[in-house]
Amino acid sequence: MANEQWIAACEAEEIEEEDVIRFDHGDRTFALYRSADDQYYATDGYCTHERFHLADGLVIGRQIECPKHNGRFDYATGEAKRAPVCVALRTYPVKNDAGTIWIKID
């Protein structure tokens, strides 16, 4: 896409292992994840079911659980994993460059 760009989102150490933080950019909100094996991922920040920040939810293995209704997504693929969510979550490419986490958005 024409407007794709890499944005520096945070420092790698700002996210704890098996955790998630919120990242706002312009009028958009994202969720950034760090897995137990130290990989980083990014998805849209709001749950696809209701407008709640996924970053307030709990990372359980490779999944993020919505803090309100306990719907779950695979945060690496965005796939909906548990009701009530049924619409997949959009994911974004992430890179860790010398301890800075970058996210590619459009």
Binding site: E16, E18, E50, H53, D56, L58, E65, P67, K68, P84
Partner: protein, 421 residues
Amino acid sequence: MTECGMLIIGAGETGARAAGELRDRGWTGNITLVGEEALAPYERPPLSKRALLEAGDPEPAFIQGRERLEALNIRFMKERRAIAIERDEHAVRLEDGTLLRYERLLLATGARPRRLPSERLASDGAGVLYLRSFADALTLRGRLRPGRRIAIVGGGFIGLEVAASARELGCEVAVIEAGPRILMRGVPEALAAVVDARHRAAGVSFKLGAGIGGMTREGGGFRVRLTDGEVLTCDAVVAGIGAMPATELAADAGLALDNGICTDERLATSDPDIFAAGDCCSFPHPLYDGKRLRLEAWRNAQDQGAHVAGSMLGAGEAYGSVPWFWSDQYDLTLQVAGLPDAGTTTVRRSLGEKGSLFFHLAGDGRLVAASGIGHPAVAKEIRLAEMLIERRAVPDPLALSNPELSLRSLLKNETRETPRL
């Protein structure tokens, strides 16, 4: 006689989830979902919040829309009321005389708002508002105009969520609560105090320890006399004073009742082909020594709906999810996992500006509940606490009170030290 296969009476959260789950578990026979409302199954939590606040015409949040029900081949019978279970015939009779034959029957009849005693009301209570259905929310929405004076009877979740929404819409709000404090049922006093302060800061006035002595119509509104003699004039009265389980069908059919329709741990009633789940269901909880509970909460409705589908198909597992509920008021999130009343000691953990957590320990040191209030991020902590409760953890109270020690690490220790089957 219509052959219905798996017949579900009640098309709320529980009924809808059960219907979907029956298909997911491979049941290929008939599934029939009978509801009294005209709408396809929808979620109730937004009714006290988004449905009141959202600009434009609010839409229900459908659990399964018509298309989804059709795709799952679930027969949805709307605006139909069941009036009797003919157990000998394995059938349910509807008000219009239709007889629906079942192989297994699920009573997901829910609960109805408790009404204010009619003798205390002007002209048999006409005009007092209750909140249970989407239609109720639309009616209430029409009354919550800026500057209107709203009297809310009951300082429970419905009353307080409506109070918060009404304030956000610019109404003047008074909450009348018969108890000495708000949120008497299932919410620790320390949390209730935070909620109370937040409402007062938002301009809500509270009349605690006061009941409704009488009510008369005045102009387009009401004159409400409290039991302590005070008189309030207001434009609308909303009552949120609890709900009664809808047990008439079960009672008339001779099924066992105990503050709801009595089930065993699989959610089967005293008739092995009839099941009950959701707000109407009284079930023994394995985490609390088999104590009988009836929960009016969204998560329980969903989880029991899914669980009972398995039981209807012959699964033998006990239902034992940790009770859990949340409430959002203004910018505050409140969550409770487990049964705080089962605890004898409370340990507090401060999350700084994000809020507070409270851990409720039984006499033997077991974590039986956790509650939190503050920023929505308390949800993450409560979820971890819920997993500790589920594992019957006996955590060190000092560790619980120390915000430097993550609950996740406690959970990992727990899993390592006390493996459970």
